[in-house]
């Protein structure tokens, strides 16, 4: 079999002669190899073409250019804190009714500089709007399908079969409308996604988003303070620097392998523009993994450890003092940490699958003394 591998005679000759050793040849060959080796260090260390100062942190490993956030219609820096709280009214029984409006829209988005992806979106953005409600509220999600394929919203939460967003229960054709209605429970960090078939294609085309239910402090007297800090808008909550992060990926050539990995869609977005955090205020990340094709994703924080609340359904950590967590698809949780005792600087975060990191899913926290 060995000679069937087509290394033809022209291919072998080069090695043949260098081994045969025209002394000239040998001298020439080795000096070339040497120079190339000594050259590498310089090339990697200097990387003069990247202008910004944090570039030395990742050297030449980067996507080239800038994504046009304006054309995309969403800015990864703003996605972090852009919670969709809907509109709130009061029902006849005194309960709160929270209404969200979501539209499925086909949209071409730029997921890495110059790389366009024909996405299916909720409200024109990927990930879809980060819906945020409070435990015990009645939720009403008005869903309109303006896309070219049947879509749905399948919520990870407690609801009836009729509201499940699967075929026959809230999966609607283009042009149709459906209203999902259920109670907001259990509290935690959840997600929603399209459950139309084929599922893989509908998810990886961009149809997913965070669905966060904050705990009602009145229902958790034993941890009322903690619950209050989780409830959006309370004075305790304002102390926290909260970020919404969805780990996603895109198969741009549709070969069932991802070409671009990211958190919140845009490759290297938080590498090129690090996320600023004030040193003296705690950080809370609502993190979910939605990638297709790869069985697992992860989150690793540099220079620090964090507490982890699996699916966010508890008020005490399910994992204490870790610097790495793993998530399969649809797994999610809450990370809490502080850089209060650190010196200011750039702290990296990325999955500890080096491949994902090098294909775009990597970012930086820029820890500063105070935020202007």
């Amino acid at each position: 079999m060995w000679f069937r591998e087509r290394v033809s005679r022209r291919g072998l000759l080069w090695g043949g002669l260098s081994a045969a050793g025209g002394s000239v040849m040998l001298a020439g060959g080795s000096s070339l190899a040497q120079s190339s080796h000594s050259g590498h260090g310089e090339a990697a260390a200097v990387s003069p073409a990247i202008p910004s100062d944090h570039s030395s942190g990742h050297g030449a490993m980067t996507t080239v250019g800038e994504v046009d956030d304006e054309r995309n219609g969403f800015d990864p820096a703003k996605l972090l804190t852009d919670w969709e709280t809907g509109t709130v009214s009061t029902l006849s029984d005194g309960r709160k009714l929270r209404t969200f409006e979501v539209e499925a829209v086909d949209r071409e988005i730029e997921i890495a500089p110059g790389v366009m992806f024909p996405a299916w979106t909720y409200n024109g953005r990927v990930p879809g709007p980060a819906l945020r409600a409070t435990e015990g509220e009645r939720l009403r999600i008005v869903f309109r399908n303006l896309g070219s394929h049947p879509h749905s919203m399948h919520f990870h939460g407690i609801h009836s079969a009729r509201m499940d967003g699967v075929p026959g229960a809230g999966l609607i054709d283009p042009g149709d409308e459906f209203v999902y209605e259920f109670d907001a429970r259990p509290f935690g960090c959840h997600l929603y996604h399209c459950h139309a078939l084929p599922l893989k294609r509908h998810i990886h085309k961009g149809m997913y988003g965070l669905f966060v239910i904050d705990p009602d402090p009145a229902l958790h007297p034993e941890h009322e303070e903690i619950a209050r800090s989780r409830l959006l808008g309370t004075p305790e909550n304002v102390q926290w620097q909260e970020f919404a992060m969805v780990m996603n990926a895109f198969d741009t050539n549709f070969d069932n392998e991802n070409e671009v990995y990211a958190v919140n869609t845009i490759a290297h977005a938080y590498m090129k523009r690090p996320i600023t955090i004030a040193r003296d205020r705690p950080v809370r990340i609502y993190l979910a993994n939605v990638i297709e094709f790869d069985p697992i994703n992860s989150f690793h924080l540099h220079g620090n450890f964090f507490d982890y609340f699996e699916q966010g359904t508890t008020l005490t950590p399910t994992l204490k003092t870790v610097d790495l967590i793993t998530q399969v698809q649809a797994q999610r949780g809450i990370l809490e940490f502080t850089y209060g005792e650190h010196e200011p600087g750039l702290y990296m975060f990325h999955p500890h699958q080096s491949e994902f990191t090098e294909l775009g899913w990597v970012g930086m926290f820029n820890v500063v003394e105070t935020v202007a």
């Binding site: 072998l12 002669l17 020439g28 090339a43 980067t62 294909l359």
Partner: protein, 401 residues
């Protein structure tokens, strides 16, 4: 060489109008073509075929240069529309790169991508170009070694390699000349048939390699058709040139044999030079020895038509240079400006030239024998044919893997 299609010649009729008619028949189809193009562009009657699908994209990697400042690749676009390179991955990592010239690549256009990637000597690397539509085009660097640069040292060492595989064996083969001079009719038939046998082997070898390289070239070159057309054109041109003053014999025939072998060696040299650039793995000095054994037969073949003459020594030198020298030129060109389509073209022309020589040597054999086609089936001829091709085949085992 090739003429544009013309309308059929008109009958010689006296009437002026009749004589102008052919011109009209020439203009009419051209006008129709112009109208069709104008209609296609303005009215877009085929717009129903634009189904929203992204344009067809194609990217071919023609050269790879590894140096101390990273990797350079020459790519050729072959898309249905100008295509844009958005990002470059090396070993599944997005890497900084520059494109020269920048901007979208028209169909057939080339650009250099410079990637400052710290490649590792002797290991494999994979380049993956991502276009703006998300399509990907992969290129494997099987073994990373520094690409020879355009300095005197590497040019000299390549020339030495070319001389060893091209010129030296031909000269050694020619040194059999005095020993062969005394041969009789059967001996002559054997030697000429031996020449035909070795040429037949080279023709098959050159054609196969030309097709293989053509497969690596960008689709727009239509490599397969190019190889066939180039080989046929070379064959016909050389046949016509050779037969201007009757069938070539003696020195003229030897020159044609040397030219055919030289063209083959040029193509080989291009490919070997490309292997320099691509850094294929080495096995040892026996390969060069194998190459020399392999090519010695070529020297015998060139000498065979000269056995009845007594040419001066410089004629031999010139023939050896014609047959072996192109290997050096091929090596230089191949390592400095390699692209698969040029190597395929050179090998195809070589194959055509060799086919011409096969015809002429066979004709010469029949004439010098005096018995015509019966000579072709004489035991000495058959033995020579089998011996020549077998010798080439067996010595090729030393250099092919």
């Amino acid at each position: 060489m090739s003429e544009a299609p013309r309308a059929p010649a008109a009958d010689p009729t006296p009437a002026l109008a009749q004589r102008r008619l052919p011109l009209l028949w020439l203009l009419l189809p051209l006008a129709a073509l112009g109208l069709a193009i104008a209609w296609l562009i303005t009215a877009d009657p085929l717009k129903n075929f634009s189904n929203g699908a992204p344009p067809v994209e194609s990217l071919t990697f023609e050269r790879t240069i590894l140096s101390s400042d990273g990797i350079r690749v020459l790519v050729r676009a072959g898309g249905s529309q100008p295509m844009s390179i958005a990002q470059v991955q090396v070993d599944d990592a997005y890497w900084q790169f520059t494109q020269e010239p920048a901007g979208p690549l028209d169909r057939g256009a080339t650009a250099w991508l410079h990637i400052p990637y710290p490649w590792t000597l002797g290991e494999a690397h994979a380049i993956n170009v991502v276009t703006n539509t998300g399509a990907t085009f992969a290129h494997e660097i099987a073994v990373a070694v520094p690409t020879p640069t355009r300095d005197a040292t590497s040019l000299v060492s390549q020339a030495m390699l070319g001389l060893f595989v091209g010129l030296v064996p031909v000269v050694i083969g020619m040194m059999f000349y005095p020993a062969l001079r005394g041969v009789g009719r059967n001996g002559m038939n054997f030697l000429l048939a031996l020449t035909v046998g070795l040429l037949a082997f080279l023709a098959v070898d050159a054609t196969a390699e030309a097709f293989e390289l053509a497969g690596e070239a960008a689709a727009l070159f239509q490599g397969q058709a190019m190889v066939v057309l180039a080989a046929a054109a070379a064959f016909l041109l050389l046949m016509a040139a050779g037969r201007r003053d009757g069938a070539p014999t003696g020195l003229a025939l030897a020159s044609f044999i040397a030219l055919g072998i030289g063209l083959h060696n040029l193509g080989e040299g291009l490919a070997i030079g490309a292997a320099f650039a691509a850094g294929a793995a080495g096995l040892g000095s026996f390969l060069v020895l194998g190459f020399m054994l392999h090519n010695i037969t070529e020297g015998i073949g060139i000498s065979a038509p000269l056995l009845k003459k007594r040419p001066p020594i410089w004629i031999f030198a010139a023939l050896a240079l014609l047959a072996g020298g192109p290997a050096v030129i091929g090596l230089w060109l191949g390592s400095l400006a390699y692209a698969p389509q040029w190597s395929a073209l050179a090998l195809a022309i070589g194959a055509g030239a060799i086919a011409q020589v096969i015809v002429e040597v066979t004709a010469y054999l029949m004439r010098s024998d005096g018995r015509g086609s019966i000579a072709l089936t004489s035991p000495a001829t058959i033995a020579g044919l089998v011996g020549g091709s077998a010798l080439m085949y067996i010595t090729a085992m030393l250099v092919k893997l």
